[in-house]
Assembly symmetry: C2
Homo-oligomer: 419 residues x 2
């Protein structure tokens, strides 16, 4: 087993390099707004007209001329004649014009009649069949949503590269858009490697080796992102020829991005990085992170190939800090925020200089604050800490460790334990 | 327009009441583990056997009897005869038995041979064709992952009511499970009401009223939850007869949960709550929250019916604090954590006693910390604050307000602005 020279680099540099080397075609497609949730906008959308398009009542009440109400009080009310009643569904053509001394009953959202410039609320008038007694004055434009106060024509509604959230879709709908331009979904193909790995079949110990679990971490980490289309290509033996064939097939059959699990370490003979360096370009060979140091990256015909460790925790961390950030960068999109909490460490945590460590912790309530208990581990292959832990403590490269009792920032992966 | 008496109740009480009154049938189905991501487990899964099932090497090196290495040092190495080489894919039947003075080369994950009780790492030996010189002693069980150290047979792998995350699926796979029992997906039907509402058609001002945007907030808030199956039933006019028909049709056609938008307020004549009280039971009539006070709830034939305001921000907040928490409670599941940050308020925020206020804010970096700027609003119908804001400040019932410069907790909805 000869050994590749590792040139460990910082995670951020790996993300930049991989995004830089990628040549994925980002095609634009139009989709109906109700199918657009979670996709990435491919162009800036601007407000096609003022919003609201006309002055609208912000309350239920009576549209009036503000001047008519000046000086009104309960002891000295102003009498106005009600000449009509309109609501939000009244077409502008059927809205009456107001003259001095008149009022029009309006529902929230109704257009403000010509001649009116304010709305008095129901609770500030006494209604008396065809007339109202206004008991309180209203300033000009009081209780009116003015044309363009929400959006001016030309304002940005959605930036290019936005992961479309419910409120983006809602605002597009509010302007009348039926469709929106987005990047087509990127096909992410996942290959598992390892001659010691078998697909799960029944809940009994495997006849040899281990069941293939890490690939599920990768597929699961992809699945919340609707702009990606994960596809599992199956298990490949630790043999260069088999690996070469599968990678080339993946590229030919429309994979935009490839992810492999396993076969990056010394004991696996570095099969995947070697093959990638032969049929493409090896870009990243080792990351300054623990666990996951052998994590690598390359490109084949412009398609990024992310090579992850076969250990589940290492693969999980690499997906969150390396693979997904690279994909967001390629799309020019900002990743959504992640849940983080501040918690007090219940035990000391050490770090190796120059590496960013990701330590699984169990976050629980203790009194008024949160506690984070680092989970003991003998290797990144330990699965139970994934289930028993609900967070990850990130220890930066320049921090030697954290002391017991220190307050630290924890990435929260699951619900906080009660105690 | 006669007025329903509102009995505003606390959000938590509304969640409890709605969950209590619901009679949804939670059927159990078995799905392949690769389709189970985001579904809710319907029963506890326990470890079917010890994990690891046998003692395994945690490193690449040589399996030895620890006793044979005691006292070994670079100046006084211990010589052992290498009788074989095995890796993680070697079946237990082909693993040799070790006698004193012997070693077996092992890869990470390989079974520990009978007779051996420790592993010395490659870097601590000198290899010399068929023999090794051990330069450092190893304690008993050093570098060995012992049988059952990760999970003991019978340990909990997945609790009932767990939203299955990548790591749960990975651990199920690691034990060999091909399938997992989950609750079938719940069909959530969404109805929009309002005679003033039109479906979006083209990016031009509507001929009258407004385009239907709020329903997109509701559909979007449902969509990340894979255990739900959202279905849009369309627009219903503000007429009791039409509303009655649609609600009954929804229940007959297999909706487990119904959500309506609009038609809860006074100006809409309380159409939806009235109809629900006639054909089912009105459970919640008004929530102690702002915006969204008219938010209501009821049940029809055991199906919860959530009645949300037609205002987008009110509907968004109600989805997050009322509808989704009730659904999680019905399933006996814990909601996933939400991103929250602490930020400094740039302007005073007032509250109405007894109400929980949800104030849209814009969170950005300012120096070393985060700032939260409350967005001006003239009503919960204002859409631009949804786009320009990226967070929601929650002001509890017993807080009169927050001062400028105070540090507050903000629910983060989108990426933090640079400055």
């Amino acid at each position: 087993m000869s050994r590749f020279v590792e040139r460990v680099i910082a995670i951020e540099d790996a993300v930049k390099l991989m995004a830089l080397k990628s040549r994925i075609e980002l095609e634009e497609v139009e989709v109906g707004i109700d199918s657009a949730h979670g996709l990435v906008s491919s162009r800036r959308v601007e407000a096609p007209y003022d919003m609201p398009p006309y002055n609208r009542s912000a309350v239920d009440g009576y549209a009036v001329r503000a001047e008519d109400t000046y000086g009104a009080s309960p002891t000295n009310p102003v009498e106005l004649v009600v000449i009509g009643s309109i609501d939000a569904s009244t077409p502008p053509s059927r809205v009456p014009t107001l003259r001095p001394g008149e009022a029009v009953e309006v529902a929230t959202g109704a257009p403000i009649p010509r001649g009116a410039n304010a709305v008095v609320m129901h609770e500030d008038v006494i209604e008396m069949g065809g007339k109202i007694l206004v008991q309180r004055s209203v300033p000009a434009w009081g209780n009116v949503s003015r044309a363009g106060e929400d959006f001016r024509k030309g304002d940005t509604v959605v930036e290019r590269g936005t992961v479309l959230m419910p409120w983006h879709i809602a605002v597009l709908a509010a302007f009348g858009f039926q469709r929106v331009a987005v990047f087509r979904r990127l096909r992410v193909c996942v290959l598992a490697t390892g001659s010691e790995v078998q697909e799960p079949r029944e809940p009994k110990p495997p006849t040899h080796g281990v069941y293939n679990s890490t690939v599920r971490i990768v597929l699961g980490a992809l699945s919340p992102h609707r702009f990606l289309e994960p596809r599992y290509l199956g298990l490949v033996p630790d043999e260069p020829e088999a690996m070469r064939k599968q990678l080339i097939r993946g590229v030919r059959e429309g994979c935009d991005i490839l992810i492999t699990t396993g076969g990056t370490g010394v004991s696996a003979g570095d099969v995947v990085p070697r093959v990638v360096s032969e049929i493409g370009e090896l870009v990243v060979r080792g990351l300054a992170m623990r666990p996951g140091r052998p994590t690598s990256g390359g490109v084949i015909e412009g398609r990024p190939v992310f090579m992850l460790s076969g250990f589940p925790v290492a693969a999980l961390v690499a997906m969150e800090v390396y693979v997904l950030p690279t994909i967001f960068k390629i799309l020019g999109a900002e990743p959504p925020p992640k849940p983080q909490v501040r918690a007090r460490l219940t035990r000391r945590v050490a770090n190796v200089a120059g590496y960013r460590s990701f330590v699984r912790v169990r976050v629980s309530r203790c009194g008024d604050e949160l506690c984070a208990e680092p989970l003991r581990l003998t290797g990144s292959g330990i699965l139970s800490t994934l289930i028993r832990g609900n967070g990850v403590l990130v220890v930066p490269e320049d921090v030697e460790g954290y002391e017991e009792g220190e307050e630290v920032e924890v990435l929260l992966l699951g619900p906080i334990y009660k105690g």
